[in-house]
Symmetry: C2
Subunit: 105 residues, 2 copies
DNA sequence: TGGATATAACAATAATTGTTGATGAGTCAA
DNA sequence: TTGACTCATCAACAATTATTGTTATATCCA
């Protein structure tokens, strides 16, 4: 368990995940690191488009990049996924003795 | 563990979570159900604004509503949070014997 | 060095999402 | 039945995000 993420960081993480293209990218990266050209091939997407989405994912910390010659390899950040798991866990109801409240307004 | 959510559903869930106001709403609902007027009071937000965000959360299945007289009470959907936990889990790297690959392009 | 390759970055535009103020619908109580 | 109250919905507008085509940067190889 980790310190609570700031709300802004949480928003950034969830936003990065709230796009079909980006989820598809993450899914591909589950199998191991891949370079941009493999991704554009596999996803039949314009390079600049994937570059944009990869940047969003990277800025959210969900993926990491590594240059090797002309190629840029992207891979999942396991740590980020774990942070995400904590974050989602923190959304859960806090156990407590039935909060009794009167009428509201 | 549950069947894999469709990508569209995943996008909808993450999108619902990718907003500061909505995360604040969920946080308040952790303490138990609340009516809209309590939420607008506590968050000092315009009623129509919260109504909009509550709708987004409800359509994503993250919260449920219940009418009681003039009041509408909202509460967390525990089931949705659990779905979300599964979803986040499914983002993780699949264990496998080191995938060896040659050059890509 | 010069050309080819892989990718990032940019600018223009399109699409989506959020905010605000106003109106409408349902409920209650006098 | 009327007026007050709670909340949803709508329309207009503002803000953000995504797409596309193009250009810039870095690397490699001949």
């Amino acid at each position: 368990m980790v310190a609570k993420l700031s709300t802004k960081k949480a928003v950034e993480l969830f936003h990065a995940l709230s796009d079909e293209t980006r989820l598809a990218l993450l899914d591909r990266l589950k199998d191991g690191e891949q370079c941009v050209c493999e991704l554009t091939d596999a996803m039949k997407a314009a390079q600049s488009r994937l570059s944009f989405h990869l940047k969003v994912l990277k800025e959210a910390g969900l993926i990491e990049d590594r240059r090797e010659g002309r190629w840029m390899y992207y891979s999942l950040s396991i740590q980020a996924i774990e942070e995400l798991e904590d974050l989602v866990g923190s959304l859960k109801k806090v156990a407590r003795s039935a909060v009794s409240r009167g009428r509201c307004c």
